[in-house]
Symmetry: D2
């Protein structure tokens, strides 16, 4: 079992007495991830309620904040019980028998236009034997073909554009991998979370990665290769970035600073440290 301490701070400028903020930023609760303890504090005067209670896959908080600076501090202790499994048994599922809620992740979405990539995906990955190895080949292809650069894409950049431009951030890497998997009829989805294990000198940030449905489960893949996936805390789960913004702002509200994020893995009896694994990793 892994136990993480999470702390983040968000800052906004609210210029409008009637503005609303909607956050999807707390760690999710799943069969394998448990929020042991958490504490949220906001600027005095903000009225908020957690809309999705009890804790589940996507947690939403609605906030009405007074005009002025808005500050949110969150702290939590979260345990993750990752599954680490041999990859050899993981087959691509027969689409005709996919569970209904998985089927939706086969469809093209706003930033993952898989319907336009069927020829390309077939030509590039069609010869690779079906199963975990093929998904890994897609992940490696994306990692190899894209260049990481933080100002070359925007929040409206889609997989087809990134495939053309060959440059982006973790969000874009995830969108391309998802679109290619779906174009191969493999369900794939977008996960937001916290980073872990990226270069020590660098400030932490929220992260985006991929889950792919193989056999009977969702398995984690990170095409960006930035961190150690076993140490990622899941926040939002959706089709692509459109589904799981960590903040939606209605009215005249602007982001004041980049979020401050800090995650540490606890050491102690019975606790393990996140590590890179060759096997398949699932946290759902």
């Amino acid at each position: 079992m892994i136990r993480m301490q999470l702390h983040f701070e968000l800052d906004y400028l609210v210029n409008d007495a009637n503005a609303s903020l909607l956050f999807n930023v707390q760690p999710a609760c799943t069969a394998l991830q448990r929020v042991e303890q958490e504490r949220m504090e906001m600027t005095p005067g903000a009225a908020w309620h957690e809309r999705e209670a009890p804790c589940r896959l996507n947690r939403l908080i609605s906030v009405k904040a007074p005009a002025g600076r808005f500050h949110l501090t969150y702290q939590a202790a979260v345990t993750v019980q990752p599954l680490v499994e041999p990859t050899s048994a993981l087959a691509e599922a027969d689409v005709a028998s996919l569970p209904h809620d998985v089927l939706g992740y086969l469809m093209p979405s706003r930033y993952c236009e898989s319907d336009r990539l069927i020829n390309f995906a077939e030509a590039t990955f069609g010869e690779i034997p079906s199963g975990y190895a093929r998904v890994l080949a897609v992940r490696d292809w994306v990692r190899r073909k894209l260049r990481y650069a933080s100002s070359a894409s925007t929040t409206r950049t889609s997989a087809v554009e990134t495939l053309t431009d060959r440059v982006g951030v973790c969000r874009d890497y995830a969108h391309v991998m998802i679109a290619l998997c779906r174009a191969l009829s493999i369900p794939a989805r977008y996960v937001t979370g916290t980073d872990f294990g990226a270069d020590a000198g660098k400030p932490m940030d929220f992260h985006a990665y991929v889950e792919v449905w193989l056999g009977q489960r969702w398995y984690v893949f990170d095409p960006s290769g930035l961190g150690i996936p076993m140490g990622y805390l899941r926040i939002g789960t959706g089709r692509d970035a459109a589904d799981v913004p960590y903040a939606m702002l209605f009215g005249d509200v602007i982001s004041d600073y980049a979020p401050l994020v800090r995650v540490t893995a606890e050491q102690g009896p019975g606790l393990e440290m996140p590590r890179h694994v060759e096997e398949a990793l699932s946290t759902m």
Copy 2:
């Protein structure tokens, strides 16, 4: 209460012993639409099962058909109890308090890139008083600005493209209206169904229209203006056409003919005929 008789036939050419067909083509079951009786017949040898049973909002049938021509005949009797309500009380909902399953219909999707239309929607509809009248203004604008033409768009055409090209079919009209509503922070979604009341000489076909969340319900709008919405039978409900194809084909299967669709409204004691209404119409 309205009672409709529905009959359709679908034809495919299956060239691949291992192909799968997945249909979302039967009428949905909702609080206001009830499938009284139905019968489905397929080419002998086809193995199929209804995946979503009992009947609900989106019904899926998985089929393994033998190589060769595949023919499906479906017949049903369906009752619809439409709600007809005064429009004056229908306010746009506060986004911060939308039900979670409605919130997803505020997000951009594959064919409805509302994130790119915020400036445009605000400039075009921002001055119109919020509420039912504004949604109606969007519907009328779409109907007025687009030209109906059947070969000017494809199944991959999106709302932004249609807004540029100003031409399309019911699918494109629906995508544009949905994208504009979402850009105004009004939840909107895509419904497939059967047409009713379109020009008598014309063969019937499947249809696509729009639902918008106002007050506490989903209300029906048809920007194409082709038929009489009260007589539409709901089949699929989703974010846009990507979610609710009436057929998904896996393997070497091709569509053989356009579907044959026939719908009639029954007359009889206690039954009403679909009619155009000025009021707000809901079938959910």
Copy 3:
């Protein structure tokens, strides 16, 4: 020297007494291509004049045709003196010293968005030694990666779209090759002409191919691989298909049939037959 007999017929339906037709459809005159004899006939009553006389690189005919069916027949004898040169000496030119009229073919154009393909071209072809061999590598890559299909693209499809969709016709093949060359800072342009040597059973049609600036000349490349480039007659030369439509229609005019095109190579003393060559081919 090659000598070709060309015959084509064009058909339109003119529904508008005030319509204009503008053709760029006659063979060009260049240092290496000479129109020996030609005869054009049109529906009686059509008023036309050749706007670009004497004959030069792009020839334009303006026509005012009476309402009704419009028929144009053209017949010509054209000689081509192709240059066949060793490829080893053909270096990519230094961009800083390109002739001004060549420089324009380095810029992105409507259907060749080379500005978006710089990363991709660099990653895919950056390692290949500069010169003829690299251009050939681009041509072969395009030929290998695209699939020829006549209804998968439209007259508005661009190189970036074709690179995504991986399917198209000769026009699309040419656009992709041109865009990739320009992204590598190699001037490239679009040539329309007549096909020659494509599959004998197939009706002939107008064709599109590529010229690339190497050393001090334009060299012919045909990424589609459909015919024998030495036998192509040059009609239009431009940045991409936007520059050289063979017909521009103003007013209510519609194309009635696909053009009928017939080209044959004459045999006789002093005449050679078009043949495939490994060397570099220039007709300018």
Copy 4:
């Protein structure tokens, strides 16, 4: 006659001994614009030559600069003899009789996809009587519908995208106006130059505006409405921004600062000051 003093400075960082810089940044020479005197100075060691001499419509300078900071200073005195004409006589030209070099400005180009805007332009401006007034209506529409913002578009943004996003800079305003004119079969092109008369407190910059072919000439329009067109000095003239970048950088060269631009109108006997005019303005 207007007489302007122009001074600008450009700064680059050259990281590559073999880099080339290509400038199209000096004022053009036309029948109505004359460069009386000019002086260019560069970082010592830079080897350059003016490629287009004598002075003409687009002037190109090739530079090989040594590695390190590169600085260019330019100073010139330029006279402009603007034509100011009544608008009532300015008819749209008959496309069939356009001069060949004007015809090219009717075609779609990289950033002006007029081929996609024909329905839209026809629906929006089709009813307006043809001629100068219609072009003015297009200019005013663009000015009214777009919002000026400097970071909402990039150098790769095209007219279709700006029409969707409804926001941009002078470059984007010009592209939209050009695309709409061409969609109406009115030749239009892109001019880069110096600004004049924009808000006094603001630093000057290079500018982009539009020329439209009416009657027998090119007339100036500035959809951005930022300055006083009579005081603009023409630098580059092309189909759109792709044709006339003021600098093209080959090799590892990066822009160091935004250009410093200073333009003043001289006062004196026989000299007039640039002023806003209601009449049609031509500088070609």
